[in-house]
Symmetry: D2
Subunit: 472 residues, 4 copies
């Protein structure tokens, strides 16, 4: 058993308890950050006069070697006796540099150490999640590019409402993902202050230059400003999981829409076989499993959010062991969101609109009745009255089993005499109905193309700016 | 790649998608139940004339062998190419009996199969969780046995209120756990109907005797009565996680109480070192980690509950792939609750009251002021007035810095003249204050002993009735 | 300002704080229970010798009068200065009986009082919620009665799977509601022990016969057995909200199914106008608002569950003011569930299947391909091979754009030569496909009728046993 | 009954359904925003040529009058027959300007209207919540100003760890609130795009200048860019409730800390009577109700967050009635957070440290043992060894029942011979222990004073910049 404490303890711990409280099984994931943080701490200790230059160099070299070993060996942690990744790294270091390793923890506590490790990890994870968002946005924009002229029924209350461009539908999700990216960036920026040097709770007693240390580790906001808060704060974990929850909420809506579009009833969308599965019993089935799993996993990520907040609620300052619960929830939430984004992108890239079925559906069910009312308004009828009369026209058309533009001349003359001069078939055609909605953000092809141009530009800009991806 | 479908598919699945939707990593845990369910299905198919006696015997033998192999070999699933445990078992069976294995899935779907597997597993898990509850109840009762005469301050609003027996405090948690056990039993009983034979969604088309099949698998409520519901229902998973959530909520309260009792400020309770840890920085620390983790894990289990309900919300009938999300949440919730119960029992068994500190605290802070009011009532003062006058006495005692029973005679004569004849030191002593609360459920030693007797009887009864524990 | 404490306080409370902590705005709903509990307490105090017979009678009469006044006057609480319903009742009582009212609180605390009030209220509320469940079950059974012969596509993954009877679909929800009713009954039974007499936390110091008191108030499980637990326990509130959450989860699934059935794409179901709304802009719209709200409110009730558990998590014993948060969540959760059940029943009663569209859809999309495989099995092909060959037949039929039973003879001879002698059109007809699933719980009309008979019997039994409804 | 649709409806709605779906009871709160949005829409319609200048002026005047009436009359909505605030305003407008009111809804839908109203309201609410945060920060900073030299035990795991300045503790919460303010600001900024002009889902068909309209209504990000997203998006509501959840999580931790500090056991903090209450039974009680309610309400707000996400999960585009559930949750979450902040500020302003008890506690329980280890490090012992030896010294001191600095000379010589020359009483005094932690963010008085200076500057800046508060 390897542990970093115990001088005051007379007896050993119960093995069940030790296994219950062991975190190496999951916090091993932080080994890169623990090594990077330890190296920076060694440099800071040199600055504070605790380590000599030679000692610091030796420690850094050993940490570097350990890092390379761990990167190579997938089984390095198997059977390790340590209670957490910090103990593991310190023990491994001791195997390399002997007693010198015992100096590294001077003025540091696992409380500020793990807070620092986790923030470093989180910055990388948020960066990767952002890349996943961008990938899906690109897939949606590409789909939209080839769908501007696909007319689709637009829905409210899942009842056909007004025709829309299929590209417009895809771009709605691009908007959501753009907000998600903002939230990820905000979360990343807000957490960017360095806890290291906060000690267990009260600040380190050694003359560490925390500003320099923060800079050394790449924290753009400098050191944290209150040691109690620094070791007790998990806002960043919660905020990251929240951002992931909204990502997944958006994906669950996309999944819901597309599962509906892919039903035999709608028949608007063909999903590629490579994201579909069959049935062990029913030979004909082709199921949208990818999208269903994406929809389902929204609950999982929300669950992690609830778990984290509930765990934090009512915790006294500063560090409590309850906080160890932060990691599994955080890791799984971000992994899940990333996987959902990637799989959705896969589905989007393989999807194909069945344009004729879409068009037929877009042209039916009186989705042009608002335009009939608008035509009445243009002819001088106040909207509320025009709405009522268009409603009556729909009722009559329902009785006759025809669309509005096919109402018999007599009915038309009776119901909307003001529009006698108009070519209703043309005025109420899907093309005209779509084209009328040319305001910013509207579904007219012209407006959609303007948005496409904007998104293409933004994504190109993003691609140009993107730093080299981290190796993980 | 091993899959149970695909006749209609022209192309292969994307590997990322396949890994995303693979469940073998977690549903392998159901292998015992999948084998038991398959054997029962083979017998049912024989009854329906689909399999001959010889075929059925051959299948059963092979399933039995497979079960023994899997019980032996911890690595049996490593690198398996199957998408789930059902495919795994069917493939392994095929390796043993060749084409005969292809007959076993007749009239069965993975939808009713997994519903059955999960219910079978859940029954065992609930049984084991119940045993964990009982273990903790026994530990608390044992602690109570040796604490009847330990007087402790009782709190409301975390302010000292009235003295209580430490045993009474322990038994409060026994009450909660007893309700938990009822909930576990109810959940176990409610789920006890067999889904097998429901097919994918519409019922099997073969003349299976479902009543007999249900009986064969030990389901006491017979077969489920609606095939759509049978494959779509996850109430039992949610209800089990809910029961586990309440277990953990109770444990979180116990943890909170005991963490407070173990502070230097209270100093009422000594936790054993075997469930405590130290600090990597601060040599003097002895931390109640076990209890903190227990308190923290309440959030985790609640999170799983939220995840499950959110996943189920708004799902169309019958089976949807979203339901695959049920298992990890369920497994982890029940595992976590079980571990928390076991670790808490460990903490309870090792704990020791510091009786003198407890008694001193119980006797201070005017916790006998209600009794002063009650004495006034006995002397004819209406309670509301007695309450007000006892409050005034407290205010005066606070000013003088003494306890009520130590008020100077003059003050006493002024404030509570009715009680002139009483030996207030005796009447307001902790012993008297405790003894007065002798109603059923009160904290008087007599009442507490009566409850202890009841619990000991009940636990003995339980121990006598408990069936031989399942081997897992 | 009216408050039941304050003797020890030198200064007054801040008005913002007083308004923050005031609960009369919502706990006034407990006035009936507070009066009933107070009357029972008066009787118990008489038994304990604290009140004379005359005093008790006077108090009971005054409480009775107050009850009648409050039942009459909807505005009785307007502008009341009291901090909670208990203070209100005590003040009103004082207006009637003067100083005698001051005796009623002897040996009682608001902690055991509110616990008792809430349990009494909850029993009534659970009873009423159960009645709402039964009402919806009856509406669904009535719908099923007229839908046995309506064939509907059955879905898995929202892809057509196998035809089902529309009655079978309705009865799936009856099963869920039956489980809900069990859960409500369990919750009601489990809470049925009386906290009154537990005092603030330690038990009352007066010789109250708690068993008699519990009986007097109609608690079937007698008095609670631990005073700390009795005032700190809110399991019953949480369990009731959980039961309501599952009710709403089931309703959200029904809503989702029906919203889909009512789309123009499916067109299977006509919702009545009396539970639909229109659009302020689009004259043609008829929206399933009732069902959408029902679906949405599932989240609200789950939210209350999370709120309650999170509030309870980590609370020290015994009573803490945090517990005041129990009421609003509980009230709204049960009100919401009740309203959702009632509105869903309204929707069910007004709904009409469009049987021809249903039948056409049920007969298409290869939903009989499992039966083709089963026919091959009957002809001696192992199921797994039969499944593959039926899948190939589906693929061929898709290419040809025909259903399986319409495959050209040559194709049929090539793909399924074993079935040469069969009348495939008949064997694969919806009627035959349905009829084959005649096992218990299957969708065959015979099986569905058997279930209908069972449900009708059970509902009749319930109606016969139902006690006279409480007036609220 | 007043409704804005119905032309196509032949029959009336069921009254229970109408009451179920009515939202006027809560969305009336949006009347100011609905009027402001309507006036802006009138101006936009004039720009689009739909209204004449005279018509627009008449409408604006009438809206203005209506606004003044509603501001005056608290009962203006009582008994109103309208289904929502939009219908109410349109009806009231009609009473003033007759048929002209019927023109106002041209090209607008309640979908974009309510989205706009809600965003306008939310901006104001977030602004007010930010002010509440600042108020509490100021109260905490003021408390810190008078507490720099109050030494308090610092805790990890609720065990005494190292002494801290009481001011440092208060400032930890200031840090949290500062992050909260950032989150509120981010949420406010992100939502600041105008949905109006998006119509029901597809964009308005009239040539509205949406950029000008957005500007007119004060939206700094211009118009929303996708009409489907604009009416379906509730990210802002969820994000605001999330920010409120973190606010309340922080407050729950402060409450937990202070409730502990105010126990008789700790006795560090005296809460003012004006935020405390007493007991109806126990005359001596003074309970920290304000803080308990604050702690409890964290669950309530988290519950609303869960409710909102669950409601949104899996909703199809664009508008669904489920979205009506957004308002009550949002309103209550923000109201609750605001009230909790205000009441906590009240508690902070009235609180008083009991400095002597604090100091005594800070100087005990070996909280200086890390400093002993550090002194050994300074004397050349590697930290890990120093830690172990300090632990042994603690163990010995525990046996002897003394503090470290009071260890007998012989023990000291044996345990820490390297420190023979040091004045341990001085080196291990609370003052020295505090002073050593002078790094940025440390608890040394010098470091704390530096932070106080920073916060005072920031709050002053904020006060100077704060715009005139909105009247509500």
């Amino acid at each position: 058993m390897s542990r970093l404490w115990g001088g005051r303890f007379a007896s050993a711990q119960d093995p069940h308890f030790l296994s219950f409280q062991n975190s190496l099984g999951f916090d091993r994931r932080l080994w890169r950050e623990d090594i990077a943080g330890s190296a920076a701490w060694a440099r800071a200790l040199e600055g504070a006069g605790v380590l000599s230059k030679g000692e610091r160099e030796k420690l850094e070299r050993a940490l570097d070697e350990l890092g390379r070993e761990l990167a190579r060996d997938a089984h390095a942690f198997d059977g390790a006796p340590d209670e957490d990744v910090h103990s593991f790294v310190e023990r491994k270091l001791g195997e390399r540099v002997g007693d010198l390793a015992k100096k590294l923890h001077t003025g540091r506590s696992r409380n500020d150490q793990v807070a620092t490790d986790l923030k470093l990890w989180l910055k990388g994870a948020l960066y990767r999640l952002d890349a996943n968002c961008t990938e899906l946005m690109a897939a949606l924009v590409a789909l939209a590019e080839r769908s501007v002229d696909v007319a689709l029924p637009g829905y409210t209350h899942l009842q056909r409402a007004q025709p829309i461009s299929a590209a417009h539908h895809a771009l709605a999700y691009v908007e959501m993902l753009a907000r998600d990216r903002e939230r990820l960036a905000d979360a990343c920026d807000r957490l960017d202050a360095c806890p290291l040097g906060s000690g267990a709770l009260a600040g380190t007693a050694w003359p560490i230059d925390r500003a320099k240390l923060a800079d050394d580790l790449g924290f753009t906001r400098g050191p944290t400003r209150n040691s109690l808060d620094a070791v007790a704060d998990r806002d960043h974990a919660i905020e990251a999981v929240f951002a992931a929850t909204l990502v997944c909420t958006h994906l669950s809506r996309l999944a819901e829409d597309w599962i509906f579009f892919a039903t035999q009833e709608a028949g608007f969308l063909e999903l590629s076989e490579d994201v579909s599965t069959g049935s062990s019993l029913m030979p004909q089935k082709k199921n949208p499993d990818a999208l269903e799993l994406v929809r389902g996993k929204c609950g999982r990520v929300l669950g992690h959010l609830v778990g984290l907040v509930t765990t934090l609620k009512g915790l006294p300052l500063a560090y409590d062991k309850d906080l160890q619960e932060d990691k599994e929830a955080l890791f799984d939430a971000l992994d899940t969101a990333a996987a959902c984004l990637a799989v959705t992108a896969l589905a989007v890239r393989g999807a194909r609109w069945r344009a004729e079925r879409c068009a037929a559906a877009a042209a039916s069910s009186y989705q042009n009745s608002t335009d009939l009312a608008d035509l009445l308004v243009a002819a001088g009828v106040p909207f509320r009255s025009a709405h009522e009369r268009a409603g009556a026209a729909v009722r009559r058309a329902l009785e006759l089993g025809c669309e509005l533009e096919a109402l018999p001349a007599a009915e038309r003359a009776r119901l909307v005499p003001e529009l006698a001069a108009l070519d209703l078939a043309r005025e109420l055609s899907t093309a005209r109905v779509l084209a009328r909605r040319a305001v910013v953000g509207g579904t007219a092809p012209s407006a959609v193309r303007a948005e496409l141009k904007r998104w293409n530009k933004e994504l190109a800009l993003h691609a140009a700016q993107a730093p080299v991806t981290t190796p993980r």
